[in-house]
Symmetry: C2
Subunit: 218 residues, 2 copies
Amino acid sequence: MKLEMAQREVLPNSVTTILRQAILKGDLAPGQHLVQADLAEQLGVSRMPVREALKTLEMEGLITLEPHKGAVVNELTIDDIDEIYELRTMLESLALRKSIPHLTDEALDEMQKLHLKMMDTFEKEEYVDLNRRFHTISLSGCRSKRVHGLMARVSHGIAKDTPYVIPGQIEKSNREHGVILEAISNRDAERAADELSHHINRTREDLIEVLKAQKENR
Amino acid sequence: MKLEMAQREVLPNSVTTILRQAILKGDLAPGQHLVQADLAEQLGVSRMPVREALKTLEMEGLITLEPHKGAVVNELTIDDIDEIYELRTMLESLALRKSIPHLTDEALDEMQKLHLKMMDTFEKEEYVDLNRRFHTISLSGCRSKRVHGLMARVSHGIAKDTPYVIPGQIEKSNREHGVILEAISNRDAERAADELSHHINRTREDLIEVLKAQKENR
DNA sequence: ACCCATTATATTGGATACAATAGCCAATAT
DNA sequence: ATATTGGCTATTGTATCCAATATAATGGGT
């Protein structure tokens, strides 16, 4: 395993990000016991930022932290993934409903641009980034810090690499994004939230199906 | 014979609880700047547990924590309260739906007992406690750690003292509890979730009304 | 007197040092 | 041979210390 510190940010945040990715990538495997001192040494920092990071990761559901025992990487079962998508569906459609009344025309333009770019892109890495920005902007009008907080907490618990995993994910997503964008343009919050629900739920179903198939073939 | 340790509390947890209550009670007022060293001295601990506690409270939305600046107690506007109840409605009804298939008959009995006690109680403090236990048990069948985590995070952000604030809250709640309990007894998850939604939403509406009235008369 | 730059102070961020605890292993007794 | 205990070790929890940063205070120039 090779962990490396990113450049200057507030230390615990960088540590959190690195550890989170290490877990999602599988470098830190489920069941593995995380020793603060070891992580600290590998990252070239003291135990303190590591402790804070572990606490954050616990809240995100990636690890379990027991007093005087330490941190263990949680296993991500298919049920867990299902659950995460269920919560994402609820939270993000709520957020979109709250967001739309406050979305500026500029935000809409930006989304339109991203949508066009996505329809032109077959680089998965770029697509994932564009997609992230698309959804971020769409929810940016939601004023509720709590909703954003919950979404972050839920979303961080899972990798956002569906285009690599689900066959045809990009094409399907593009179609769904188009419908969502149209509803938002018409300022039809209910319909937009509904279509977003479908989008996330469809992704969930596809993902679960693929994962179950993978599980069979092992 | 069965002996049990009085849950060995780890310092940051105790500190978190104390600070949380101080904020909800208003002893630490909105806008107030929280200095780690001061709190540590008042509590007779070092700054370290305080730092961890502050981080937890930030996640619960009670304070804002900015790098190198410190902690400020958040203001709880009526809109915030509205938002918290909206999230509680979503999350708790989801949790109840997931809980019911796994609720044991013993749990149901316990709820029945608590319900009877509540109908006999006019001590508000006792009522709040019984009510808390009633709802806790009803959701105890929900296996999803994530849902529980989100509920905790949302609920901690607000005082649970509605019987002191809303006129007739106890009587209304008792009626609603009865309906919920019946639905649960029939293992009708959808109906139970629906009735719980109504219960929380009714409380929200009453609470907001009272708070707005209070605001007028000032 | 006012404004900007500079220094001083307060407070947080991070590292190190020390204490408490859990889990393991061997030694002993039954 | 097994169960129990006592101590050892690994690891976490807490305190203290030093460094980095932001804010307040100061002072000189205009």
